[in-house]
Structure formats: structure tokens, C-alpha cells
Symmetry: C2
Subunit: 514 residues, 2 copies
């Protein structure tokens, strides 16, 4: 058998593959230091530390970029793409070559100056955001957002010149996904969701959840309780930790170092509890990735949508279910004997199904939540595509909010300033939240079919069968598949809003007399 001179033999390819993998892993280790900079910034850094942190982030981003665009690595990846492993290797090996090369090419189209500026502005604009939100002052944030959106447009043009600007950004979070598809999916969801949400909001039957959101839940007791719940569903604290922050998140600093965060509200138990169930869901995904592929595409999350499907599955489809509360309620009553006196599991599950309009996305109930997301999706796309000026965002936000929710944000802190994403440079990220809800419902329906004892197991505090099913079916895939094909393989159906609507109707209809 003869080969073109540029195509390496299998034996040569093996050596090149090993070298390429070693390089990619080294870069992943360096990039994981960036995660530590970010985590520390959000949880620990003293107030005056910001400017130097921006310097650190920018320096490290440039170094990581330099490594990612290494000419030798590019040569290796191109040789591999032309060689036998790329077509005849394992699924993992093929994905590794394809995706490392794709990322190498995208990174190589980014000028170092842009990489540095994105990293620096990412830190500085977030600090402006903290102040803007505290003072409810759009003027504080506007210049930063103007700069951020300009940088993101430039990034889109560099990284993926063949795509619409918004698709180029979206593709970084949800590989292969295009805004036109999302518009179709979201449109179908909206058609059923808007009337259902209106019916819930208008109903005279309403679950009474005042004991949950107007109680007294001492923060120290919450801390112990929610850590116990996270441990109970399988989060491994030998490989992770839980801290306090302004805007909860989950981040991995390494294969055995996953950190989740939350905020606390003494009057309201759900704030921290569902925040932690959500972040622990992300954490279970991170802890479930295949460690032998750490730093390579098969050991990375499929997409943010799939990531979010895991957080929402544990937060909502497990955490708000009656079986879950059969297990959890005794723990909760032990932690908060006074606030939860006389509350039964049924009453708790019912209270957790209360639908009420909220200005704040992260406090929204599961029914209205996706309306918050769609608003952001439409606005950020309009800005990126040049149809809306950054300066017009507050007015556009308030107008759309009033249309969807029938009320107007009283100030920008409860409107356009509420989320950290845009100031952190996360543009094209929001739609993955709703995509995650959609996929979560499809996964949970498939899990129910595969695990007939699921409810009984959960009621007994046995979450391992579900977790193991998710690890096997979802987590292990890593980036060997994109989200669409993964959902199809796991559930037998294409991505669709049906399971989500069914699940919402089933769980939120009856408590509202619908």
C-alpha cells in the first residue's frame, strides 16, 4: 500500500498522536490555571485585587494562546488529519484529531492582541458590572458592554469567518448549533409555553410557599444542610468544594477539583438549596467525565446545553419531585425544625411548584424561566448582528419584559444589569440554558424508561442508579458527539420541546388547578 508523502504511516501517526496529545494535555493544565484565577476572583479575591487579576488573566491567556497556536502542534494535527488514525482510529481518537485541529485553526486566526484584550476586559468589565448592579447604574456598565460586544464581534469574525457573527459565538458554547435552529425550537416552545405560563399566573389556585420563602433559615444550618444534600446526590467533596459568591457557578480546576458556589438568603431556603442542586448537577457532570481523556475532547463536556441539562435535571426534575422530598424532608426538618414544623413531603413538593412572575432570571420558577432566556437570546443576537445598539438595550429589555411578563422592571438592577454574562464576555451563552431545559426533560424521560425503580430509589436516598445511567449514557460521550446526535442516541428522538412541555404541564398544571 502506498501513501501520499504528506500522509504519515500508522506507525508514524502513533508517534505524532502521542506527541499531539501530550501537548494538548499540557495546554489544558495551563488553561486550568485560568479557571483558578476566575474562581478565586469570584469567591476570595480582596476588593482591591482586581486590576492585578486582570493583568494575570491577560498574561496567562496570551501564554495559553501561544501554546494553542504552536506551529509544531499545528503541523502534527494536520499530519494526523491526513493520516490513518483520523479515519480508522477509535471514535475518541478521531474526535481528538478533528477537534484539536479545528480549535488550533480557530485560535491561530485570533491575533494575540485580541486574546489579551478579551481576557483583560473580561475581568475589568465584571468589576464594573458588580458596581453597576449595586448602584443600578446602566451608565457605569454601558461603555464596558460597548467594548465587549465590539470585541466579541471581532472574535467571531476571526474564529469562524464562514459563519454569521452570532453563530460563530454560539458555536463556542454549543458546537454545531445555529441560531436559526434555535429560533425554530424556541418558537415551538413559546407557542405552548406562553399560554401555559399565563394560565398558571392567572389561576386563582396557587400553591402556598410562604413558609419556604418568608421563613427563617440560619445560614450556618443551610450550609451544612445543602452540603449534605449535594453529597447525598453524589457530589464528591474529596474532589470538590462549596463556597459563597455573588453569582453562583461551577468550575473545574482539574479532574479532581470541581468547585461549586452559592449565595445565601436567610429568609428563603430555595435560593441556596436549588442553587446548590443546580451547581452540583454541573459538578456531577464534571466529576463524571472520563479522566483518562482529561484535557482532550473526549474528556470534555459535549456542550453547554448538555452541561445545563445535567444541572437542570438534578435541580428541577429530581430536586422538586415528591420522591426526592420523601428522602430529603427529614434532613431539612432536622436542619430547620421551627421553620418546617408540620410540613409534609407533599406540601413541600406542592410549594415548590409555585409559579410567580419574577424580574430576576435566577429566581424565576421553572415555567417562566425560559421566557427570561429567550428575551436575552433575542436581544444579544440583535446587538451582535448590528440590529440593536448597546445603548438601546435597557429600553429594549424593559419593553420586551413588559410584553412577556406584563410588568416593567422598576430599575436596571432588576432588568438589564442583573446577569454577569455579557460583562464577562459570555455572548451566545444564554440560549444554552433553555436548550439545557429541553434536553433535561428528554433525558429524564429516557431515564424513567430505563430505570423502572427510579422513584422508589430516590425516595430511599439512592441516587446512584440515576447517576450511573447519566454517566454511562451522557457524561462518557464527552465531545465525541455534538449535542443533537447525543440526544438522539440517548433518547431515540431529535431535540424537541415536547418532553419539556409535558413535564411542565404534569408538574405545574395540577397545583394551579390546570
Amino acid at each position: 500500500m502506498t501513501q501520499a508523502p504528506q500522509s504519515p504511516s500508522l506507525h508514524e501517526s502513533d508517534g505524532i498522536f502521542t506527541a499531539a496529545v501530550r501537548h494538548a494535555r499540557r495546554v489544558a493544565v495551563l488553561a486550568s490555571v485560568e479557571s483558578l484565577l476566575g474562581w478565586d476572583e469570584q469567591t476570595m479575591m480582596p476588593p482591591a485585587g482586581g486590576p492585578h487579576r486582570a493583568d494575570q488573566a491577560a498574561e496567562l491567556a496570551m501564554l495559553v494562546h501561544r501554546e494553542r497556536t504552536s506551529v509544531e502542534q499545528g503541523d502534527r494535527l494536520r499530519a494526523l488529519a491526513a493520516g490513518p488514525i483520523a479515519s480508522r482510529g477509535s471514535v475518541e481518537e478521531q474526535a481528538t484529531i478533528r477537534l484539536l485541529l479545528d480549535e488550533h485553526e480557530k485560535q491561530s486566526r485570533m491575533p494575540p492582541r485580541l486574546v489579551e484584550e478579551l481576557a483583560r476586559v473580561g475581568v475589568e468589565a465584571q468589576q464594573a458590572w458588580v458596581r453597576a448592579r449595586r448602584e443600578s447604574s446602566w451608565a457605569v456598565l454601558e461603555p464596558w458592554l460597548t467594548r465587549t460586544f465590539a470585541l466579541k464581534r471581532e472574535q467571531a469574525a476571526c474564529r469562524s469567518p464562514g459563519l454569521d457573527a452570532y453563530d460563530a459565538l454560539l458555536d463556542d458554547y454549543e458546537p454545531g448549533c445555529r441560531w436559526r435552529e434555535l429560533t425554530g425550537l424556541f418558537g415551538a416552545l413559546r407557542e405552548s409555553l406562553v399560554p401555559f405560563a399565563r394560565a398558571c399566573l392567572a389561576s386563582s389556585v396557587r400553591p402556598d410557599d410562604r413558609f419556604l420563602v418568608e421563613g427563617r433559615f440560619p445560614v450556618e444550618a443551610q450550609r451544612r444542610f445543602v452540603a449534605g444534600v449535594a453529597r447525598g446526590i453524589g457530589f464528591d467533596f474529596a474532589r470538590g468544594r462549596l463556597d459563597t459568591t455573588e453569582h453562583p457557578f461551577c468550575t473545574s480546576l482539574g479532574p479532581d477539583d470541581c468547585r461549586i458556589t452559592t449565595r445565601w438568603c436567610e429568609r428563603s431556603l430555595p435560593t441556596a438549596l436549588f442553587g446548590v442542586l443546580h451547581e452540583a448537577g454541573h459538578g456531577l457532570y464534571e466529576q463524571g467525565l472520563r479522566r483518562e481523556w482529561y484535557g482532550l475532547p473526549p474528556g470534555e463536556a459535549t456542550s453547554l446545553g448538555i452541561h445545563e441539562s445535567q444541572s437542570r435535571l438534578w435541580e428541577n426534575l429530581v430536586g422538586r419531585s415528591l420522591p426526592f422530598w420523601r428522602w430529603c424532608l427529614p434532613l431539612a426538618r432536622e436542619a430547620f425544625p421551627e421553620a418546617l414544623r408540620g410540613i409534609a413531603a407533599e406540601r413541600m413538593a406542592d410549594a415548590l411548584a409555585a409559579v410567580r412572575p419574577s424580574f430576576i432570571r435566577v429566581e424565576a420558577d421553572e415555567v417562566t424561566y425560559n421566557l427570561h432566556v429567550m428575551l436575552r437570546f433575542d436581544l444579544e443576537r440583535a446587538v451582535v448582528e448590528g440590529d440593536l445598539a448597546v445603548g438601546d438595550l435597557p429600553a429594549a429589555w424593559n419593553e420586551r419584559f413588559e410584553r412577556d411578563f406584563g410588568m416593567r422592571p422598576p430599575d436596571d438592577a432588576r432588568g438589564v444589569l442583573q446577569d454577569i454574562h455579557w460583562s464577562a464576555g459570555l455572548v451566545g451563552y444564554f440560549p444554552t440554558y433553555t436548550l439545557g431545559n429541553v434536553c433535561a426533560a428528554q433525558f429524564m424521560a429516557a431515564a424513567r424508561r430505563a430505570l423502572p425503580d427510579l422513584d422508589a430509589d430516590m425516595a430511599g436516598g439512592r441516587f446512584l442508579p440515576l447517576l450511573e445511567w447519566l454517566r454511562r449514557e451522557v457524561h462518557a460521550a464527552g465531545r465525541t458527539l455534538e449535542s443533537g446526535p447525543l440526544v438522539e442516541r440517548v433518547t431515540g428522538s431529535a431535540v424537541s420541546a415536547e418532553s419539556l412541555m409535558e413535564s411542565l404541564r404534569e408538574r405545574y398544571g395540577p397545583p394551579h388547578g390546570i
Copy 2:
């Protein structure tokens, strides 16, 4: 005026100087990320995170080393050393050129493999140390120490081939200092200290400090109290923070991000209080360095001995003084009303002068402390110079300890395993502790001469005059001077043990009837 062709003109030199400074600052920013890795490892990292942290530290150390040995930077520094700024520039500019070039040459003699191994073994051996100390098992640590000492010998030979191995290591912590000088200084100190310590220990008159070390001081109350004390003496929490750790330390992550740590003991107030005064003393030095020189020698600590002089000055010469307790006691009694009921400032200062033999250096009183240090200095020097095998350290430790303290450590956890330093690769570091005590006493005597109202100010909670004097006289020097010339400039005398012995006799003699 003509110049040799290799010597740049002043105008050319200015441009080169600017470029060299920019490069050095960038490297300092990267190196400050290493400090974050270290801080997080000691305070926050989940138990299983260690191996990946070692990978991160090794990767970053190699990158920092690559930058420090950049050929272009070497060319710039050599050109500058031959040019006009090196001889006619400001003191700061001259020090910058001289010390950056010196460091560049030392780094360039280190093979990257050694840099990586030192970083990796530094993390891994520390984790072995934690286990070894917990289990009091020398066997767990021995192989790691054998490897560490071998690496340190190799480092010494590479970095400073013209020096004795031990002097080469010492020089990294105390530039310009040689072990023969230290042997002289320590010998003189030993001559007065050993009989004085014996007299204190043998005295039938003993301060009663049981209320302080066998009391009940709830950790939450301690946390608030010691943070208040640190703030009171001038530690700026907008530019720093305080956390919990196993082995207290202070580290700077940037010019406005200085982190101190402590451990807590509910029975004993001094553990955390003097730990925090000590680390805050380090922190005040870090916060007092000239920020316009951040990342360059004039903005760096003179030496570890000078650093330690600042921590010991605040811990002992301020924190154990009667004037300090006139200010601090009301705060302490508010925090611990029961444990400190009826205790007056005089009684407190007296109790804090109790001398008792201790197996543990960090718990030792001020009088016996330096005997702990000298033991380590002599042993580590013997190992580095090849006169003592690592395997013989425990026996040598116990024998020397018995000779100096009249008692034998009951186990290795309270003997050779107690300190983190050797496992962290900090060999040649211990003697700077005693050097720090010596300098602290000299500085405090000079401060008293310069500030006649010092005692009244401290009693009134006004620590700023002392802090400003230290900033001006000591902190601002940075590395423009070595420690010996700095002490001479500030105090008018060479480094000598006299002030320390005077100060110990004055403060510890009377409470022991001497």
C-alpha cells in the same frame, strides 16, 4: 564622549531599560500566579486535587523559567550593565539592572528539567509531609526528603557554582549572607541565650498563663477579634484577607492582594492571635513595598531576614508589650468576656512572658525560639554539605534537642516532622528566622529613639507612626540594599545579637525573678 561599541548611549539605554522592565514585570505577574496556586493548595484545595496541582505548578514554573531565561532579555540586561544607567542611574535603576541580570544568569544555568522537578516535588513532598506528620511516620517522608535535598544540592551547584552549596541556597533567601557569618552571629547569641533560657526555665518564679492557654475561646469570636487586631495595627483588608490553614503563612498574589493565614485553637488564645500578628507583620511589609516598583527589585523584600524582622517586631515587640495591651485588652475582653474576666493589662503582659520548653518551634516562647532555629540550621547545613545523611536526621534531631532543651521529643511528629520547610524545598531558610529576631530588636530600639511617644501611641491604638517609620526606613528600601547595610543605615550599627539579648532580658527577666 566616545563609548565602546557594545555600550549603548543613554538614549538607547533608556529604550532598552524600558523594554527590560516591561519584560521583568510581565514575568513577575506570571510568577504571582504561582503564588495563587500555592495559597489555594494550602487553604482551599480539595484533598484529591494534589496531583493535578503538581502538574499545574510544574507547567507554570517551566513557563516562568522560560521567560526568565529569555535570550532577548539577557541581551538587554547585558547591554544595560555595560551602559550608562548601570553606573549613573538612580539607586533603584542600578539595583534593577544588577539584580535582574544576576537572576537571569542564575536561572539560565538551571536546566528546565530541574525547574520542573523542583516545582513538582515541592507540591508532592508537601502532601507526603502532611500525611507523615499526621501519622508521625518518618518513613513516609524520608524518600521525599532524600529527593528534595538531592535536588537542592543540584540547584545550588547550577545557580551559584562559585559558592559553598549551603551558601548558594542561603543566598536565595538572604542575598549576600554566608553561613560562616551566621555561625559567628549565632555563636555569640548562643553564648548569652543558653544560660538565660536555662535560668528562666529553672526559676521558681513563673508567670501564670493558664487562663490564656487552658481557657475557652470560641473560634468564631477569635476570628472576629484577631481580624480586628490585624486591622488595628494597619493591615488593609481591602488589599488582603485572612484564612485558615495547617501551617500559617503570608503570601502576596499582587501589589494589592496580600493573604495571611492562621490556625485556631479553642483552648489557647495566643495560637491564633500571635500567629496573626506575625503574619500581619509580614503583610504590613508586603503592603508597604513601593508599588511603583512592583515586579522589580526595588519593590521586592530586601531578604527573608528583613521580612521576618517585620513579623517578629509586630508579634513580639509590639504584641507582647504592656502599651499594646492597654489598647487591646478591652477588645479582647469584649470578645471573650468569660475567659478574660478580671484580667488586667499588666497581668496579660506578664502571662505572655512565660518561658517553657516546647517541642514545637512555632509554639515556642521568644526566649527558647532561637534554639529551635539553630538546631535546624546546623542540621540542614550538615545534610547539604554531605556531613549528615537524610536518614540520620531523626536521631540527630532528637540528640541535639535533648542537649539544648533537656528533653527528648516523644515522637517524630513533635520532632523532625514538625515543619513544612524541607518538604517544600525551603532549605537554607531557617536561619533567616533568627536573623529576623536579631534585626527586629535592632529596628525597635531605633524606632524608640526616633519616636519618643511610641508607648503612649500604642496604648492609644495609634500604630500609624510606627508603621510609617518602618515604611520609610525599612520597607521603602526594597532590594536596593542587602540586609546588613540596611540594618546599618537604619540603626547606625552592624547586625549584632546585643539588642535582642537586651530586649529579652528586659522583658523576660523580671517575670522570672531574674
